[in-house]
């Protein structure tokens, strides 16, 4: 199958405008005759649901949480980028486009990224109009801060709760549409299967998490907005319930999965304390604006940080990357932390931690300014660790945070299954091999508010769709398949809990497909994962029944899919014989340890096709062409 990205040609500045004009429209009177399913209610799902309903479509939205307001976008702390140039510091749509392409290590599509940068401006306008309480200057205008990977100040923020505020804005827009009768919300419903009729996405099968009922829902188009798959690593900064089941089920039905090995490790998380650890907590990257990262110069220096004199500290990011200093992109900051810890200079009880120190910023700006900027983050750190960051430096370590990979989509955000759209973190589209800070919120909202509402309309207007009913065989078969999967999980009655198997899978992936990878380790992981998957199906214990509120069963269904996805991630990481962004292959590095890209052989999107569980997936390549942002070595020195 030939992958057609449907990217428009011509001058990049006008591509989206021209494309929008060419998209077909559905007449206002006909929109209500179409039903659109949206799965997930984070920034992408909520904004898409609300906007499609505003346009007059009949929308159904599903989420596993008890309310759409709880989706994990809510946990994004630092901010959202927009090329407003309100600071008069030389920002522009083109600069945001360029920074994003370079930040993604030249592994994303120019057309998509340019559109994203253009729409960033409209997002801020819309969010302000919705009543998002962004930070302001005394004159009443919007405030900005800097973020990793940029030399301009273009990040808009609402204290350390930007994701929460943006999500509540989209959630409130949804509630308005629910009251208007155009949107129906299905909370505590988990999508367990995608239904195709004549090769097109026409519905889903869900499990009602309260009573276990398996239900079919039909529609004219399906939009997946189910977020990333970072929880395959068990320990991550994701919400505990976040999972890959929706995109995995779509992959198994024929949607290609693109660049699964592009996973992002966030440099500033609170280090692991013990085996019982259930998740990792992120401290916003915005802290790197004022905090200085360091480790002791000497190996095994166990003195308390405040007793280590200035000349015996190694501010390694400032030393290695003088231009960007502590504000280098996430992948670079993470690998540098791993390197100094591997050298034996890490701090804290496990030796896997580095200091993030605010002493100098407090001296320079005063404690009140620091409190105003980061008060809630400091409070959170103290609550979790029992240490006061105003007095002792924070200890941080990298953790899995975001997945740039996801289902392959074309310029219209449609997957290789006609009628199946994928938006937000669930797709692969805009961040290449590494996402810059404050760009996830931007992408989720661009997709949901300003792209998919147009492109879904084009699909509906240009496609002849027959009537479907949930009574027909395609739906009945999918329901039976789901019921059978649940029956199998419940009937194993083995000896190992879902969590213990999931933790083992996570450790395997973190060890061999985490911050640094090599061919030998990946081959080992590819041998172990199928064994662990076998162990899962032979020895898992899932208590209770399928016809009740059963959180163990929910987890088992998600982990069963992670057991397959983990293998795909390793296949992708093994095939990509280069280092780029979040994918660092130890065999491919420069003499001073930086990632060594291979543009002549790997400047493409790797889109994988499912060929059956346990079989190697089939690779399809979408070549990446750079007409504007010419690939260069990604230097932050």
């Amino acid at each position: 199958m030939e992958l057609d990205s449907k990217c428009p040609s011509g001058p990049i500045e006008t591509r989206w405008d021209r494309h929008k004009f060419e998209l077909k429209l559905v007449s206002p009177a006909n929109k209500r005759k179409y039903t659109i399913i949206v799965v997930g209610s984070g920034l992408a799902g909520a904004s898409a649901s609300a906007t499609l309903a505003e346009l007059g479509y009949n929308v159904k939205c599903y989420c596993y949480q008890d309310s759409p307001r709880r989706a994990h976008s809510i946990a994004a702390q630092g901010g959202i980028n927009a090329a407003k140039n309100y600071q008069n510091d030389g920002d522009s749509v083109y600069r945001l486009f360029y920074d994003t392409i370079k930040g993604g290590d030249f592994r994303s599509r120019e057309s998509n990224v340019y559109r994203l940068a253009q729409l960033s401006v409209d997002i801020i306008d819309h969010c302000v109009a919705q009543g998002i309480p962004f930070a302001r200057e005394y004159g009443g205008v919007l405030a900005n801060r800097s973020f990793g990977g940029a030399l301009v100040s273009r990040t808009f923020y609402a204290r350390g709760q930007t994701g929460q505020q943006l999500l509540l804005g989209a959630y409130q827009a949804m509630q308005r549409q629910i009251a208007a009768g155009r949107l129906t919300m299905f909370p505590r419903h988990e999508m367990l299967e995608l239904v195709l009729v004549n090769g097109r996405a026409r519905g889903i099968v869900t499990r009602n998490l309260i009573d276990g009922k398996i239900e079919s829902h039909a529609a004219d188009a399906v939009v997946l907005a189910t977020g990333g798959y970072g929880n395959v690593y068990y320990l991550s900064t994701m919400a505990k319930g976040a999972n890959a089941t929706a995109i995995w089920r779509a992959y198994r039905k024929g949607a290609f999965f693109a660049n699964p090995c592009f996973t992002q490790i966030h440099p500033t998380c609170i280090p692991v304390t013990g085996e019982y650890q259930s998740k990792l907590t992120l401290m916003s990257e915005s802290l790197r604006n004022d905090g200085r990262i360091w480790v002791p110069l000497k190996k095994g220096d166990t003195r308390p940080p405040n007793q280590i004199p200035e000349e015996e500290r190694d501010y390694y990011l400032e030393r290695m990357y003088p231009a960007y200093g502590n504000l280098v992109p996430r992948d670079i900051a993470s690998r540098a932390a791993k390197r100094v810890c591997d050298e034996g200079r890490g701090v804290g009880p496990t030796g896997y931690g580095v200091y993030l120190d605010f002493r100098d910023a407090i001296q320079r700006l005063g404690v009140n300014v620091i409190r105003e900027r980061y008060g809630n983050l400091f409070e959170m750190y103290e609550r979790l660790t029992g240490e006061d960051p105003y007095k002792v430096p924070m200890r941080i370590y990298p953790a899995i945070h975001y997945t740039m990979g996801g289902l392959w989509v074309d310029y219209n955000l449609m997957s290789t299954i006609p009628g199946l759209f994928v938006i937000g973190e669930a797709n692969f589209s805009d961040h290449g091999a590494n996402r810059l800070g404050a760009s996830a919120l931007m992408q989720g909202l661009a997709d949901g508010y300003f792209i998919v509402p147009y492109t879904v309309g084009d699909y509906l207007a240009s496609t002849k769709l027959e009537k479907v009913s949930t009574e027909q065989t395609e739906f009945r078969d999918a329901e039976r398949e789901v019921a059978e999967r649940i029956r199998r999980l419940l009937s194993v009655r083995g000896r190992r809990t879902v969590d213990s198997l999931h933790r083992e899978l996570g450790k395997l992936l973190w060890e061999y497909c985490g911050m640094a990878r090599n061919a030998q380790g990946l081959q080992y992981a590819l041998k172990k994962i199928p064994e662990l998957r076998e162990e899962f199906w032979q020895n898992v214990i899932v208590p209770g029944t399928g016809e009740e509120f059963n959180q163990s069963l929910e987890r088992a269904l998600r982990v069963a899919d992670f057991m397959e996805l983990a293998e795909l991630i390793c296949y992708d990481a093994l095939h990509r014989n280069e280092s780029c962004g979040g994918h660092f292959r130890e065999e491919y590095q420069t003499p001073d340890g930086e990632a060594l890209r291979n543009d002549s052989e790997y400047a493409y999107v790797a889109a994988w096709e499912f060929t059956g569980v346990g079989n190697p997936p089939r690779l399809h390549k979408e070549p990446l062409v750079f007409e504007y942002a010419k690939p260069t070595e990604r230097s932050y020195k």
Partner: protein, 259 residues
């Protein structure tokens, strides 16, 4: 550490529930409260018992999904903390704790410590938004917002909708939750056109959902994990009074019990 738990177990809304005693040994003080329950649940599953059902998701105190009563206090003893961020170092070896679900008529029980808080969504649907469609906004800096107003709006907007305020209130009132949204939107210039309609619609929806009246007990503020202040309730009452007089007329407003 060793902790003794008495946990409310109830299979579903129609079957009766009861307190069940559990002992958790080897509790690490760095664990969060929910991680302690995870460890207990792993043991229960190994023994072939049903694990304790509790809601949780982000585990970083922002999604608002978790929450139950610990010794009669929503989210437990630490102020300004959700139960997912409550760490065992705040308890002592041998402590005995009673865990119960949030109780309110508007929050029907689902299982064990899990309740249905969809009533909060319906309160927002009644008017907790600014009516603006995507695409119709002016430039973001077109309307200046005084820093102080933005800060105060943010204080109120920090609400995570967990329901602790309702659970702690002797009347199961949603006043703090309502006041937070009404203050957030009412403090901003963008929220002015619908300000008075909003308060009337949201307050009347709360009565329909079965939330009680506010009698200024102040319990809600004491347990709010985001430290939303009682002044949001005062602001809501003021807006409600103005709205009632404006829209109903003084006579009808007095008859409707305003003021």
């Amino acid at each position: 550490m060793r902790i003794i738990l008495h946990v409310w177990r109830q299979k579903n809304a129609s079957e009766p529930g009861r307190m069940v005693r559990y002992e958790v040994n080897n509790v690490n003080p760095h664990m969060s409260f929910l991680e302690m329950l995870d460890v207990l649940n792993e043991e229960l599953v190994q023994q072939g018992e049903d694990p304790i059902a509790f809601d949780h998701d982000c585990r970083e105190g922002i999604c608002g999904m978790c929450g139950f009563m610990i010794n009669g206090r929503a989210h437990g003893p630490e102020p300004g903390t959700t139960v997912c961020q409550l760490h065992m170092r705040h308890f002592r070896d041998g402590d005995e704790l009673w865990l119960e679900p949030f109780r309110a008529r508007a929050f029907p029980l689902i299982r064990d410590l899990v309740v249905n808080r969809s009533a909060f969504d319906r309160l927002i649907a009644a008017g907790g938004y600014i009516s603006v469609n995507a695409g119709s906004a002016p430039d973001a800096n077109a309307i200046p917002v005084p820093k102080q107003a933005a800060e105060k709006a943010m204080d109120a907007a920090a609400c995570i909708g967990c329901g602790a305020c309702v659970a702690q209130c002797p009347n199961a009132s949603a006043a703090l939750f309502l006041g937070a949204k009404i203050s957030h939107l009412g403090l901003l210039p963008q929220g002015q056109p619908e300000r008075y309609q909003r308060v009337l619609k949201m307050v009347s929806q709360a009565a329909l959902e079965g939330f009680g009246h506010c009698t200024n007990a102040g319990e809600c503020e004491a347990v709010c994990p985001k430290r939303i202040k009682l002044e949001v309730i005062a602001r809501m009452n003021r807006d409600y009074l103005v709205a009632a007089v404006k829209h109903l007329g003084v006579k009808e407003a007095v008859e409707a019990g305003v003021g």
